[in-house]
Amino acid sequence: MTINFANLLPTLQPALESVARIPIVHYLNETIWIFAAIETGHLLLLTILGGAVLILNLRVLNLVLTDVPVEEVERTTRSWYRFGAAGAIVTGVIMGITTARTLLPNGAFFIKMVALIAAIILSHVVARQVRGSRALESRSGKAAILAGFAIWLAAMFLFATTARVNPGSILIALAGAALLSVATQRRHRPAIIAASALALSGWYVSLDALVGQSHGIGIALTSTGLVAAASFPTYSMDGRDTDKSILGKEALQRLTAFVSTLAWITVAAAGRWIGFS
């Protein structure tokens, strides 16, 4: 299965190709060192963006800078997040326009765009909540979280079921499992492993029945299941430095930070798989 912009929006390709024929855009695409410079800039900006997102989300998960109020961490990473995101989008758009002919039929590019929407929504919600706007309590905040989760799960489903791209979903699963294992207290790990195995089995069976067998899909769906399994037990996640159980609003905030992290990793991984597919 492959879903891409060329199939979904067939009128987009001719429009973008006409833009690609504009002399300056054509020159950018044909001049390898300029394209390489933009591509390298995109990677560096993604690194800044990734660092800012990780620091804030890991703080929300109570894993780093536990002595620093989370509001201060959000305030201090905000400008770096905005700089990294804006720069990565601008360089991404430049690369996208110059290579529209090959990007639009590319399944990994479609997945990257879907995951990007989820990542931006979830990061926005985490930041707003940390700033004390009660984003998680408002109806619009809850709707945004639900939309973010649903869009990211859709991106993961596509990642796991798109031919030649699906190994990338294993990367997200491994990242989710690693983050979860770091974030949970040792005494809760057996329960979390059991819950993960249960969720994994459920996801594997349901998705396998839904989609059916095809080449490589078993591995892909297993990895999707691992991601889902890694997501569910975060409700019981209470950090390493505290004994109190986290319920309700705080649990939702941590779950949002957790999924936001995975959503950005999905964006980066899908971006890498654009070149592979």
Partner: protein, 209 residues
């Protein structure tokens, strides 16, 4: 000798042998890893994505050392909290990077951009070593300083510059601008293209056609 060793790794190590005892092409372990496609993609993808964790986290520690980020928090609190993730990211990058090198060792060895990248990695490692054992020796004296001393800021600035250089070199390795097929003059000498040709000629009798 090093060239010969990497040529052996790339073309002969683990390879099937024909009746005459010559290595059958594309059957060495390196060739199999490179040809595995999905495993190679997973390794390469992990290497690039882990960059966000490694370089992203070290950037924020360096920014604190420069006095730009969280200036009212002790350096020790920021560094000790974030650096375990940096180290974790580095270990994953080292592991995947080594596996990726193993997939094509002879060509990487004779690639000038790979050599430049290695020089930057070694320089960054030396910078970390100097920071850890020299600059940080009296951390207690400037731990709470909003703007740490010049030598600390210099080490942090050097760290950012070197890791950016590593990333740029790593990205440029994807292009064959300076491969031995096209290189001449200084670049050809820097990547030892003559030795590469001699090595290929020397191992040819051991390879099945």
């Amino acid at each position: 000798m090093i060239s010969r060793f990497f040529a052996y790794l790339q073309y002969q190590f683990g390879a099937e042998l024909d009746g005459a005892g010559r290595a059958v092409s594309d059957t060495s372990w390196s060739a199999q890893l490179q040809g595995s496609e999905q495993l190679w993609m997973l390794l390469e993808g992990t290497h690039v994505v882990t960059l966000m964790l490694f370089a992203g986290s070290i950037l924020f520690v360096d920014l604190r050392l420069l006095g730009v980020l969280l200036p009212n928090r002790p350096v020790s609190k920021v560094a000790d909290s974030i650096l375990p993730y940096t180290v974790g990211g580095f270990l994953v990058m080292l592991l995947t990077g080594t596996a990726l090198f193993f997939a094509n060792p002879f060509e990487y060895y004779h690639n000038v951009i790979f050599r430049v990248k290695l020089v930057f990695v070694v320089a960054a490692a030396i910078n970390i070593f100097i920071f850890h054992f020299r600059v940080q020796a009296n951390r207690g004296a400037w731990d709470d300083a909003q703007r740490p001393p010049a030598k600390v800021r210099f080490a942090a600035g050097t760290s950012i510059a070197l890791w950016v250089a590593v990333i740029v070199a790593g990205r440029c390795m994807a292009y064959d601008w300076f491969s031995c097929d096209m290189a001449s003059g200084f670049v050809a000498a820097a990547e030892q293209c003559q030795e590469r040709t001699a090595t290929l000629a020397a191992i040819e009798p051991g390879l099945a056609q």
